[in-house]
Amino acid sequence: MSTIDQKKPAPGLSKSFPVNEVLKLLSIREINVLLALVLIGALISLFTPYFLTTNNIMGVFRSFSLTAIMSIGMVLVIITGGIDLSVGSAMGLSGLVTALCFGAHLPALICVAAGLGVGVAFGLVNGLLVTMIGLPPFIATLGTLSIGRGLMYMITHGVPVTPDAPDSFAFIGQGYIGPVPAPVVIMLVLMVIFTIIMQRTRFGRHIYATGGNEYASRLSGVRVDRVKLAVYIISSTIAALAGIISFARLLSAEPASGFGAELDVIAAAAIGGASLAGGVGSVTGAVIGAALVGIIANGVILLNINTYAQQGITGGVIIVAVSLDILRSRIMGGRQ
């Protein structure tokens, strides 16, 4: 977000027309990834008529919405200089606990609360391991990743849990608000809320400060440990929410649900401009990063690209897109 002041708004324009305000909200880096997104979308739609239909676009949005939602929490952790590998397990276990509660005929609100509780517990454990014991975040969250997945297999014995749930609950995964799927609406709402938190609140500034220079932040009175604990709890709880949405969509809690999701989520944040070294990154960037990966995944199927080649192509497109973005901002004198 250090780029905000680099391009001075043209005088007189900013008051009459809010473009500069919009530009301020998005850093240059995000606009570049957004451009890559639009470009790839345009390319795909040149070759297949099925891409640019309302149904497909909304389907794509729904497909990547869970990754995007989790990346919103992940980017906060990454900005503090940490990493949360346990999001896939938090997501899966939360969906499973919610499913078990529905199976026990508990009220929907309690089921959702139990699922979110799983997330809070994950975050507390991760955060305390990192701040109190001083474990490297990679190790702490790798441990809870395995514990969470192990618990899922112990509970399910490998069998999906498929209870009945009321339609009002299923709505958050399957419903539409107008033409927009409910999970996409939740993603957009979270994106706005956390963008405001990161840019307009002291807590947000402390998150950037912690990752930018932890020692200096400590000296200047930032309660670094509290900030870290908070971001791990936020990350796990958001992942738990994603697990609940996933269960509401499929009405089936799979033992493998969320397996490997951490890589997609971290990739989304990084593609969207977050630096794994900490201090740099944004919520909108992470969501756009998830969108880029989601659109490529959809495009390779619509274009009927050989299934065995898809992963390789996806990786190549990501590397090219982000490289162009970095080269472009270097040439244009953006952040480097």
Binding site: P160, A256, S257, I301
Partner: protein, 313 residues
């Protein structure tokens, strides 16, 4: 060595008749058979049911030994333990075909009868393999689909892990069966990593990319639930029935899909049969009644609305 063997053949033959005679004299109650699954999942609960029932019928002692994980080394340790305790027969569903070769040979050298079920280790010297021949199961599936779409149209295949050998054998079987129908074309093959959420997204994209799709194969266990989920969505309401769905395994959601008319047929393996045959053939071999054991394909049951309440495994 060869000469020696040839020379001693009559003696060995005589000995084996004598031991066979002794084995027949051995009371069924003195025979112990051990059955080893891959790991604790419901499929093997069914194997256990069949095996335990057969052991009870025959009056032999029966042990169900469950490995705590899917690593090859765990089953190696179990076979070593069983060999040391000198059980009379071992049936195993192999996690790692290669890693168990040595210990199975040792067990056989120690006079223990060994066979494989469900998952084979072909070079271990086991007497026989009892289980689903996946390519045959795929052929049954392909033939069923061809009939359902009257031998004409576009079909797509949704699989699990791209590298899974059992799934690739099923796909090969499907393609083999469809080769007899020149008017059927396989327009798409997609992997899902056996993740339901991913399978749903992939299935949606396939249906959008091929508006005239006639048939959808789900060769791994996520295919059935994913197809059911997608066809219940508002967007694809008019595709129900227009797209014939053939799936694998009887997970609860897949069964529901058949009952609600989203899935035309599912291929169900026969784990209970595998367990029962495994114990019966082991006991036959231990008693010397079965000398030239041959592999058995337990096949698949094709489950449709007609037999969904009554099929056996």
């Amino acid at each position: 060595m060869k000469n020696l063997l040839r020379f001693s053949y009559p003696i060995v033959a005589g000995l084996s008749i004598a031991t066979a005679g002794a084995a027949i004299a051995k009371d069924n109650g003195d025979i112990t058979v051990a059955v080893i699954p891959k790991v604790a999942v419901p499929f093997f609960d069914d194997c256990n049911t069949g095996a335990a029932a057969a052991a009870k019928e025959l009056g032999v002692k029966y042990q169900w030994v469950v490995p705590e994980n899917t690593q090859g080394a765990t089953q190696v340790k179990i076979i070593e333990d069983l060999t040391a305790r000198h059980v009379d027969g071992i049936a195993i569903s192999v996690n790692e075909p290669r890693s168990v070769q040595g210990v199975i040979k040792q067990a056989i050298a120690a006079g223990i009868k060994v066979l494989t079920y469900d998952s084979d280790s072909a070079k271990s010297g086991r007497s026989m393999y009892i289980g689903t021949v996946n390519e045959n199961a795929g052929e049954v599936m392909g033939k069923g689909m061809a009939d359902a779409i009257n031998g004409e149209g576009k079909v797509a295949i949704v699989t699990g892990q791209l590298g899974a050998s059992n799934l690739n054998e099923r796909i090969a079987g499907v393609k083999k069966a469809l080769a007899a129908y020149p008017k059927i074309s396989v327009v798409d093959l997609e992997g899902t990593e056996d993740d339901l959420a991913k399978a749903v997204g992939v299935t949606e994209a396939i249906l959008r990319a091929h508006p005239d799709l006639k048939g959808l194969f789900g060769v791994s266990q996520v295919g059935g639930p994913a197809a059911t989920k997608v066809l219940t969505e508002r967007e694809f309401a008019d595709r129900k029935g227009a797209v014939k769905v053939f799936a694998f395994d009887d997970l609860p959601d897949t069964i529901r899909g058949v009952k609600d008319g989203y899935i035309n047929a599912i291929m169900v393996q026969r784990p209970v049969t595998m367990g029962r045959l495994a114990v019966q053939h082991l006991v036959g071999q231990i008693k010397g009644q079965e000398t030239d054991a041959k592999d058995i394909d337990t096949g698949v049951t094709v489950v449709t609305t007609a037999n969904i309440g009554s099929y056996t495994k």
